[in-house]
Symmetry: C2
Amino acid sequence: MAAMDDIDSAILEHLQRDARITNRDLARALGIAPSTCLERVRALRNRGVLTGYHATVDLAALNRRVQALVFLQIRPLSREVIESIKSYVAGLPEVLSVYVVAGGDDLVAHVAVQDVEQLHSMLMDRFSPRREVVTFRSSIIFQHVSEPVVSPLDDV
Amino acid sequence: MAAMDDIDSAILEHLQRDARITNRDLARALGIAPSTCLERVRALRNRGVLTGYHATVDLAALNRRVQALVFLQIRPLSREVIESIKSYVAGLPEVLSVYVVAGGDDLVAHVAVQDVEQLHSMLMDRFSPRREVVTFRSSIIFQHVSEPVVSPLDDV
DNA sequence: GCCCGCACCGAATCTCGTGCGGTGACTCGG
DNA sequence: CCGAGTCACCGCACGAGATTCGGTGCGGGC
């Protein structure tokens, strides 16, 4: 993996904050020529550093006013079973994000639904019937803050 | 909140998938004129439905190869204490996301650090000293899949 | 000291964004 | 049934931006 200098870091910071900034403005903010800037952004994409540009949407506007974390215990804990249940959960329309974790629980799902009733239905209809899900519990999310900008950590 | 029709939903889907799509291409994909498309996108922003455009970055490229969920118990559970610890945790550079939840734990932090050693240091240096954090435990994240596109849920 | 590679720049061209006036459909009162 | 008002949409035109390409300076290797 090629090294990243300060300009690359600044590019990433700007694009994480506002992915629709024009190349022109980005170049101006960095003090380099637009053509150079374009080349660097393209290189970051090709290197796999920049993985995508995504709009974020207000969940309430999408009829999803209730969020929860669902913690699942999976058995047996084989690679195949984990892969399969992970794909299944991630594919559910109510699910925003899935974590495969170590510790007391094996899977954590971040879900967003219309109301608590729908949360309950979803748990009963989609999680309970699965044999590999031996148990699960849910925590309603009161607040969720997400940092849009991730900076590189310096080597020790 | 104004109603959303199929075209609005399609706009949201496209922009969530690729926030840098040109207005022209977006309009073409929807079968409407670019000027109309522009107007609708602007309306979605003004209504607060579209909240932002963000580039996503490969965490490994930023020297963050280890992720974990950290579950915190907070006492006393007053509004002020929760607000304050939430802001503190969200402001830490290692933290990607913070959930304030109901249930056995009160706060869940999604952190991304360079290695397990740094995770340990972080827990010891940043969480342990806080008086309001009565206990915490961490779960290493093996995999994390995040759905980039969120669709509206139909009313029941 | 010379050569080569690399990153950067500036100009030219081509595409795109965006405001404006016009137009058709739909609604509602007469 | 008809006419006016409203609203979303469209096409056009102009300004702004994206992207390419040839040129340039600098630093490392020999």
